[in-house]
Symmetry: C2
């Protein structure tokens, strides 16, 4: 256990941590900053249901809490916001922009999490980029010094005045104040690009959408919904590709977990990007999380769950699990091709996965059901984003040595 | 439980079955035909180790015992005798020809099992077949009426005077007396051919060696060891093929379990038949045995156990499990391609199989080790023959409602 880290989080900012006496006697006379008994009982009940060893849980909101910093890298228009809603949903509360602030703020706050968008650290606004012929993907359009300073300050528990990049106007708006949350998530194009920022991250996620799927999705959105021509869509993809390949894509090597989204292999010539093959690539040997596995850890398994016990409609579901290397590093890969048609299929899948970090049987299914209106809820994107959310919770718990109550 | 069958086995031949009182009080005053307490304790201990619910076990050796009849069909030279040694080995004792009888007897006796070779029911001896231009595969060379009468008599507990086909001389020798055993195994070319004989069988096994493997094995034996020419081997295979396809092969549809032996798919162009892909095809929905499965019953799984936890040398092992149909009947297929190099690989495989009918963890491995000098001990033929042996025991126990003590 990380006793050193716990010690480092000793009183420092004038907010007393509850004494051991207060901790153990909170049923009789709860201290102000200590969880209410009813809440504690609920925790115990949930833990009991999840098979967690019963013990008193004290949820303390003190300034000496460690701030856990998570990075999510992905291209624009690849579903980062859905991903973030799945991850923050694990910690409860509806993420909202800062109350009374800039209505075009990109920040999302909930009880435990704050998600900031790295576009806010653009050093060049839309006009500036146009003048200098620099894309938003180019590091020259980002203010990495400021990004580093502010992520570092937040990690140290200090509030910052963060700029706002207005996606509507393309201008940089006056800054907003961001308080240090329990979990800070930075999402955007370059979370791992600058080594100083990268080193502040406790857990790194890369959302890797294959070119075929990006193209299919863009056609769906820009052609069907916005009336763009196929030619203009192709041209815009081609124009972004060199910078994407140069500055964004290479960051995936540094990620702890990568979600790869590929065309299905179950249906030949499926070009619409509706049925997906999704791979969760998980680095091995990390202290803060355990990779998920299917049936037999460290072996290679492919599994078609649909059969005698579980009937599925075409094209069904195919799972794969196995060891691999990813840019020279040892990883495990969990793959799902196809989609869920019925709730029981999802429960069936969940029941056969191990090391998911779920706190009770069915937690993944419960999360997926809660978010069933989100895109990807019937395929591997939703499943693996939910699992990554549980891993974020695992990382948080291992760093802070605090229990998060499942919601 | 098959109470009706138990009732049908009620006293009929003057040997009293122990009363319920004797059964429940055997610890105090064991009846003569009742197991000794030390034996019963050993059974209980073994059952406990195997997780079987503790209860008193009485092993009765009375003439009213049901005779369980097993059929094994296969071509000549396909390893039937090795198969039989693995199966009878599960019941203990070294199978031997009848003591003091014809030294060329084909019969093998052990404590619980008697294996008779159906060649003994040839109606034409070698000269007779030559004269009539009929192969040994042809039903016209078999005496099915006698086969039926004698298998029926043995099943009813009566001794028979069984002819002996002398494989050395090619002649029919004077008959030998065969007593009704607990388990009668008839092995040969036509165990399921005659409907009357087929109907007497409680469990049917077909050993199905693919043409490629038969050819490779025949070359190995007849060319390397006996100095035959490749041409003569090819000619002899071709000559047997029409009768084999007409009379032997179609019997496999009737089997409860089929062991298929095929060339490996792990090594391209492996023509020597040394690395094998072996499939155990198991009929579904049978009352007397449960099909084995891998990880998730009724689904489709492929599994390469060699990986992070288990290291193997080339070409390793690949397992497959899944539902299928076999001549219109529902089956499950368990497949093993490749071979074991180390004992731990075998234990690892065994630990991931379910419904094997092993009575304790490691029983398959123990059996394989005991018979490690037999051909096929490092691949799927040995593994699946051992599992089929355990299924024979399961069938015996379900029919007789008696426990067999693992040896």
């Amino acid at each position: 256990m990380q006793t050193a880290q716990l010690k480092a989080a000793a009183p420092a900012c004038g907010v007393a941590r509850p004494s051991m006496a207060a901790r153990s006697s909170f049923k009789a006379a709860p201290a102000p900053s200590v969880a209410r008994p009813s809440f504690a009982r609920r925790v115990q009940k949930l833990q009991k249901a999840a098979g967690v060893q019963a013990r008193n849980v004290v949820v303390v909101r003190a300034a000496d809490d460690k701030v856990v910093v998570i990075g999510l890298a992905a291209d624009s228009g690849c579903g980062k916001s859905t991903f973030m809603r799945r991850v923050t949903g694990i910690f409860g509360g509806e993420p909202k922009p800062p109350a009374g602030g800039n209505p075009d703020s990109n920040t999302l706050l909930s009880d435990m999490t704050t998600v900031i968008c790295l576009d806010d650290y653009h050093s060049l606004d839309r006009n500036g980029r146009k003048e200098k012929a620099v894309t938003a993907l180019d590091p020259r359009a980002q203010h990495f010094d400021l990004m580093y300073e502010q992520v570092k300050a937040l990690k140290e528990g200090k509030p910052v005045q963060k700029p706002i990049y207005n996606h509507v106007t393309g201008l940089l708006d006056p800054p907003e104040e961001i308080q240090a949350p329990k979990i800070l998530i930075i999402e955007g194009l370059h979370p791992f690009f600058d080594d100083r920022v990268n080193d502040l991250l406790d857990f790194k996620i890369y959302l890797d959408i294959s070119d075929e799927i990006k193209f299919a999705w863009k056609i769906q959105r820009d052609m069907a919904e916005r009336g763009h021509s196929l030619e203009s869509i192709k041209a815009s993809i081609e124009a972004r590709k060199p910078d994407f390949d140069a500055f964004i894509d290479p960051q995936k090597k540094k990620a702890d977990m990568i979600i790869q989204v590929l065309p299905t292999q179950l249906v030949p010539d499926e070009k619409e990007g509706k049925i997906l093959r999704v791979r969760l690539i998980m680095k091995e040997g990390k202290k803060l999380f355990d990779p998920v596995y299917l049936f037999d850890q460290g072996s290679t398994v492919s599994w078609i769950p649909c059969g005698r016990k579980l009937t599925c409609t075409f094209p069904g579901i195919k799972m794969f699990y196995g060891p691999d290397t990813y840019y020279g590093e040892e990883v495990s890969v969990l793959e799902m091709d196809g989609q869920f048609d019925k709730l029981e299929e999802l429960i069936y899948m969940e029941s056969h996965l191990s090391n998911t970090s779920a706190k009770f049987y069915g937690e993944i299914t419960q999360q997926m059901l809660k978010n069933s209106s989100f895109p990807g809820s019937n395929n591997g994107t939703g499943l693996f984003q939910t699992i990554v959310g549980l891993k974020v919770r695992e990382v948080y718990e291992r760093i802070t040595e605090k229990e998060v109550v499942p919601v």
